[in-house]
Symmetry: C2
Subunit: 442 residues, 2 copies
């Protein structure tokens, strides 16, 4: 089944003219506002995703980019349906639940099972199958907060691989404590994976207050059972797009300075922090630098389907495999809109001197020098793996996991002042690299 | 149609023994925890409401109260169904919406109309009917926060009377900006009213970020239309109960010191702040004072169906009309669990000396003397209207409207230290009045 969802857009997407946006330091916010208000949530592969692709092309053109094009890629489409999680008697009540991205649904009558709780994915992996068989596995792993979101990697495994590990032991379904840091009663979605060799079971997340509630219930009544109903649609392969725009370099047009963000978002919020902010920052940065006639070409890439597993980035890397040597640099903004506090590089050894000089130009914004271990951002990490030099303007992500992947990721969570500081940092970094002839690979 | 929902409870409610709770200053929290975890949401008239009535009787008995009984009353039952609010093309997206309590549903196919926005109920009342007819009215009135929740009264009219005012002008439905103070993406429910002489139209609330979003959309595209789907059930008259328990006075048992809270809650949160905290405080206060053999009788009343419009309180006042002269005092805790910061009275002039002395005993808790204009609390205001002396231990409600009437009103929002301070204040106030012979009416 192949759906060309872009066709759904034809009538509606162009019914309003693009707003004329001014080229000033509010531009990142204005773009973010336009994207989140006029398009809103934009799940990869959906009709809204196609609207966001049209939105991006329209605005790139309006902002005066020299070239604007899209690159299609195929992807597996997944769409959230209704979900409910009911605690059965004697504590009968509903818990706040949402499907993990990619999860199958339940049978129509739901899954009604006792619950077995684990503190971590690792504890589940060591469980006795007799304790898990035919039960709903509940992984209750709390996420601590810090400026780098550094604890995320240690917790997110339960979301990504929990269903496979639970199914290996015969579980009927997986529910996880949301991989988030806020006690607001939102369940956090995010992508999960199946193994071809392991039975597929439904996987969902409950909010942090609900995880605490369920844990308390189980301490009073370990025999507690739940009923999970979930309908999701997995219609098959569809086409989505990376959107690409360039400011052609005035002296070395064949050398590409790639700055990027991802255009898709999860479906429940409006994707303001994840990653509308990044979209606004990099679209604005390229547009504002045009008047300076940068020496190298500035290529802005808005990747598609980051949330489904860097699908657009992988397509970009495959399509541009032969030209990656011309990519002198790549970076992505994809960690919300908190102030940039550190400049991390992923350069060759010789180029670290240039990196240190660049940091001096960022210093007045409160940005310190970081290590030479930058990934460049989720999508750009694919390019780094193929030898492209990268950097990361590290953002303060202390509250990022309060909001990301929840319905609460909305425009009002953005501090326009912090977003302006981000734009300023991206302008400096992009300008310096675009006007230099340094080889960051060396 | 008369439902006796208590019968639904018979099998499940008593399957676990009441926990043995210790008589110490954690008792209010332990009761609150037990109620919110084991019963959870308890919409007046629902099966969960009946479970909460059973829960309260069981715990009153376990805590050693001398008398425990229930008083039935009839009420109109209303039950929330599914609700969705869709922005139509070109900005197609879903907004977070919830039905207002008491609202009818929409036709099955929903209501699809253009929107007309008003800043306040008063602005709507002055509108030209031609601008409103067949449209969805959107009242976008923001609530400011303060320690007393003092702005609530000026905003809540849009929720209570908006549907009637909109319908008078021919509107097809009402949506309001949630009467809340948090930018978390929860819609706040709450009771609304119809007039017998005015057509009934559906009424719902959207979250504050969604109200901001809709307002931005309308500024770009004033022709914007919405589709509202909502199913609610209004099955008719059911029975609910006030739960009453007493510590019999050792010297003047016929003089009643009434302390109270309301047992029902809205259906989306677990009613921790509204009003599980109050339930915990007053149940604990009576239990802890028993050992002191108070001179007057302490009567703890857990009112039913406060949220539907003080229905249990009105039933109590009607049933006890002849005995209200024996009610020497009444007070209710129903403003969350923030620290008590002021002692307001509703006494006769002569009794103000006693009030001032009482405040001296509260002073070490950081509680100042307030004015003699206390309502006593929502339910108790009905008793005050019939001449019963009252007081209010004013709680810090700065964040109360962040949570109340939303799914986010859960146990984790309670600060146990603040709850202990509340209990301490209630113990002092109740003890002093129960051991005094002062006539607070004079």
């Amino acid at each position: 089944m192949k759906l060309w969802l872009t066709s759904l857009c034809a009538a509606a997407c162009f019914s309003l003219p693009a707003q004329q946006l001014e080229l000033n330091h509010d531009l990142a916010y204005k773009l973010l506002e336009s994207l989140t208000v006029e398009v809103g949530p934009r799940l990869a592969g959906s009709a809204a995703d196609a609207r966001s692709v049209a939105w991006a092309q329209r605005h790139f053109k309006q902002l005066g980019y020299d070239k604007v094009w899209v690159e299609p890629f195929n992807m597996q489409y997944w769409e959230r349906g209704q979900a409910s999680l009911q605690v059965n008697a004697p504590f009968s009540q509903s818990l706040v639940v949402t499907a993990l991205g990619g999860s199958i649904g339940t049978p129509f009558d739901g899954i009604n099972s006792q619950v077995v709780m684990f503190d971590t994915l690792e504890q589940l992996q060591q469980a006795n199958p007799a304790d898990v068989k035919n039960r709903i596995v509940f992984i209750n792993h709390a996420l601590e907060r810090d400026i780098r979101g550094g604890f995320y990697g240690g917790v997110v495994g339960g979301r990504a691989r929990g269903a496979v590990e639970a199914a290996k032991l015969g579980a009927s379904a997986l529910i996880i404590r949301s991989v988030g840091s806020s006690n607001n009663r939102f369940a956090h979605t995010g992508i999960m994976r199946y193994d071809d060799d392991v039975e597929r079971i439904p996987a969902a997340a409950i909010s942090i207050p609900d995880a605490q509630q369920l844990s308390k219930m189980l301490s009073i009544n370990p025999e507690l059972s739940l009923t999970l109903h979930m309908q999701n649609n997995l219609p098959g392969t569809v086409t989505s797009h990376n959107v690409i725009a360039e400011i052609t370099g005035s002296k070395r047009p064949d050398e590409i300075v790639l700055i990027s963000a991802h255009l898709d978002s999860w479906d429940e919020g409006t994707g303001a922090l994840d990653d509308g902010a990044g979209v606004g920052i990099v679209m604005a940065a390229g547009a504002l630098l045009k008047a300076e006639r940068p020496e190298r070409t500035i290529r802005v890439v808005l990747f598609g389907n980051e949330e489904g597993g860097l699908i657009g980035a992988r397509a970009y890397a495959a399509q541009h495999h032969q030209q990656l040597a011309t990519h002198v640099f790549a970076s992505e903004s994809d960690f919300g809109a908190g102030r940039v506090w550190r400049f991390d590089t992923g350069f060759g050894e010789q180029a670290l001197t240039f990196g240190a000089q660049l940091q001096q130009k960022l210093k007045h914004l409160g940005i310190a020098m970081g290590p030479n271990t930058a990934s460049g951002g989720p999508d750009v990490s694919i390019l780094k793996a193929q030898g492209v030099p990268v950097a990361t303007l590290q953002q303060d992500g202390t509250d990022y996991f309060d909001y990301h992947h929840t319905p609460n990721d909305t425009l009002d969570k953005i501090d326009p002042t912090a977003l302006r500081q981000n734009l300023e940092a991206w302008l400096i970094m992009t300008r310096e690299i675009a006007n230099s002839s340094v080889d960051l690979r060396l």
